[in-house]
């Protein structure tokens, strides 16, 4: 098996670790972002139950450390692309909670004008290239973004989020092969939450250490603890450095766990995973893991958490109120945005 080119061979790892850990203010920001996503998703579940959100809706609860950690290390001009489980990444990238909630409610002020819904959040202003609903489908698109960056001679990076089940489909292979062949600045970030709907990783992939797949493409890879937001940040920063300075793609296998069902129609546990397994994993809640670090290192207190929690709950309530007040798209919008009428 070819040697894995991991970050250890990269000289600057010490300074990256320090930058990833940041200071008390940075850790507070990370905690706030994760807490915001958690509260936002809880309210989504509530809105779904009363019919304000429809369709398929996949929550991010339990995985907040992944999106927040990775996206917090990006530059404004970098690109983010994700699957349908993308509320968290969209918020972390800076789409306003109002615009995301309005999109989920199917309203005109949504970030995709109410045409996309939960699975298709987009925002050009923050280079958020969408949520995509076909498993694996957005991986070649990320490769294309990397191609365009190289074509123009820029040093941006595209980070592509997807679940571990996507590694079994052909698009994964095609996308990674070309990215490695052409040396494109893309980070393929697997959110390994152990299940693709009800199918456990071991029941779907011939290799259980899926980071090993990178060997097929002679691509650097790393296995990361996704419940530790600081570890995700550090791994992403190492990959970013490779991408920016050498235009080398990376496969990150970030191990995490979803605390909810696959989508709103799936029970939290009982069929394909046991209650015991779920409870075991919930002990490593990314919010709690960071909070404990902050209690030890930053003198963070329960009172601080309560205050922050009140703050983000108010933000989510404001998003809900905004979405609720936003009108449905006008019927004239039906035929809009099918084609543009411009040429170059």
């Amino acid at each position: 098996m070819p040697q894995k080119k991991s970050s250890e061979q990269n000289g600057a790892s010490g300074s990256i670790d320090a930058a990833a850990r940041g200071d008390a203010a940075l850790r507070r920001d990370l905690l706030r972002e994760m807490l915001l996503i958690r509260r936002f998703e809880e309210r989504c579940a509530e809105a779904y139950a009363i019919g304000k959100i429809g369709g398929f809706c996949h929550l991010y609860i339990g995985q907040e450390g992944v999106g927040v950690g990775a996206i917090s290390s990006l530059r404004e001009d970098d690109y983010v692309i994700a699957s349908y489980r993308e509320h968290g990444q969209a918020l972390a990238r800076g789409i306003s909670p109002r615009a995301v909630m309005a999109e989920l409610f199917g309203r005109v002020d949504g970030c995709s004008k109410g045409k996309g819904g939960s699975m298709h959040l987009f925002d050009r202003n923050v280079n958020f290239l969408g949520g995509h609903g076909i498993v694996g489908g957005h991986l070649p698109i990320a490769t294309g973004v990397g191609f365009a960056i190289k074509y123009r001679g820029g040093d941006q990076v595209c980070v592509c989020f997807f679940g571990e089940a996507a590694v079994n489909n052909g698009a994964f292979h095609e996308a990674l092969n070309m990215a490695a062949l052409w040396k494109l600045p893309v980070i393929y970030l697997i959110e390994n939450n152990r299940y693709g709907m009800g199918t456990a990783l071991e029941r779907a992939s011939a290799i259980n250490d899926i980071a090993e797949r990178a060997c097929s493409y002679d691509m650097p890879s790393e296995v990361v603890d996704g419940q530790d937001v600081l570890a995700v940040r550090a791994a992403t920063m190492r990959a970013l450095q490779r991408a920016r300075s050498e235009s080398i793609p990376t496969l990150l296998e970030v191990r995490t766990y979803r605390f909810m069902g696959h989508s709103m129609s799936d029970a939290v546990s009982g069929t394909y995973r046991s209650k015991e397994e779920l409870e075991e994993h919930m002990k490593r809640d990314p919010i709690v893991v960071l909070r404990m670090t902050m209690e030890q290192e930053d003198g963070w207190t329960d009172a601080d958490t309560s205050k922050l929690d009140e703050e983000v709950k108010a933000v989510v309530q404001d998003a809900w109120d905004f979405a609720d007040a936003s009108p449905e798209p006008p019927l004239e919008a039906l035929y809009e945005d099918v084609f543009v009428d411009t040429t170059s």
């Binding site: 995709s112 996309g116 987009f122 489908g137 957005h138 490769t143 973004v145 698009a171 996308a175």
Partner: protein, 328 residues
């Protein structure tokens, strides 16, 4: 006026547009070093270099997606499929990504890109390599679809497709690459998308067609002329958006319509044309609309069976006579 091949007309269009706009690049299998499987991109690697004329692995889904990603962030990719038969592997990117991105994003991400390559049956290539895909592609909101039948239209439509800010499907005729026609040298050849052309005037019956079948319609019209029947040929050139006015004005003159298409009959694009004619030209019609198409079978290899399966001038002549009540 110079007479050039359909292949060279496409080559001119690609080169002129890549000279005009450095965001335009060509990507596909064998487009560079090999000079194109059908030599459409001959000389382009030498002229533009390997960043703009990109040879890919055999990975249709993958490189179609690369085109989508590049278009999302502002490049203007031309994705070449060696033939449209292989593009079936890429349909997820064409249909689910390229066609829908603008709508799903609420208008934020226009997809200025072209998917092109040879379409339809050649000779004795049997079932997997002999298919016409326009009915599949024209069905999808968000895609424009063109099918040029002459060198002039090939050049003009491809140039318009490259300049359009929407995803455009260019269906080239595999059997047309060597055909020749007039293409002016020192003037810009641009054929607007969505405009049909009357390729031959006639008062007795309208042949409505596109792509390779324009040649078949011309042969049929020649034969009918010998029997003093004047057929008009409406070459749609663009299938989506379809030039409905051109169809209606021809049928209002001839009162009879025959739709010629290369693909199968079931849910074929010709059915869409026939539906339009019966609905919008009902009072003009003196006969039911007839369709000439490939027999509904996978294309056989044996010469005689292949000939029997394909739509041809003889079948077109018979259909024309039938709508004229000259034959049963």
């Amino acid at each position: 006026m110079p007479i050039i091949t359909y292949r060279d007309a496409l080559n001119q269009a690609l080169r002129e547009e890549m000279q005009r706009d450095d965001r335009v690049f060509l990507m596909g299998e064998e487009v560079g070093v090999y000079q194109g499987a059908y030599k459409v991109s001959k000389g382009m690697l030498q002229e533009f270099g390997e960043m703009r004329v990109v040879d890919t692995p055999i990975t249709e889904l993958g490189f179609a997606g690369v085109g989508v990603g590049a278009a999302m962030v502002g490049l203007r990719p031309i994705i070449e499929f060696m033939t449209w038969n292989f593009a079936l592997l890429a349909l997820d990117q064409v249909v689910n990504s390229a066609a829908k991105m603008l709508s799903m994003s609420g208008g934020q991400y226009p997809m200025a890109m072209v998917f092109r390559g040879p379409n339809g049956a050649a000779l004795q290539l049997s079932a997997q390599h002999s298919q016409a895909w326009e009915s599949w592609l024209a069905h999808i909101p968000g895609l424009k679809v063109v099918a040029p039948g002459t060198p002039y239209d090939a050049k003009g439509l491809l140039k318009s497709a490259i300049r359009d800010d929407n995803p455009v499907i260019v269906l080239e005729g595999e059997m047309l690459y060597n055909t020749k026609g007039e293409v002016p040298e020192n003037e810009e050849v641009v054929v607007p998308l969505g405009q049909a052309e009357v390729k031959r005037e006639g008062a007795d019956v309208s042949f409505i067609t596109w792509g390779k079948m324009v040649l078949v319609a011309q042969q049929a019209a020649e034969q009918l002329a010998k029997e003093n029947i004047a057929a008009e040929i409406i070459d749609l050139r663009t299938l989506n958006p379809m030039d409905a006015d051109a169809i209606a004005s021809s049928v209002s003159k001839t009162n009879r319509a025959v739709v010629l298409e290369e693909g199968w009959s079931v849910a074929g694009f010709g059915a869409h044309v026939a539906d339009f004619v019966q609905r919008e030209c009902f009072d003009d019609l003196d006969a039911p609309v007839l369709r000439v198409h490939q027999e509904d079978v996978p294309m056989p290899y044996a010469k005689n069976l292949e000939r029997a399966a394909k739509p041809d001038a003889k079948k077109a002549v018979a259909a024309a006579k039938k709508v004229l009540y000259l034959e049963n």
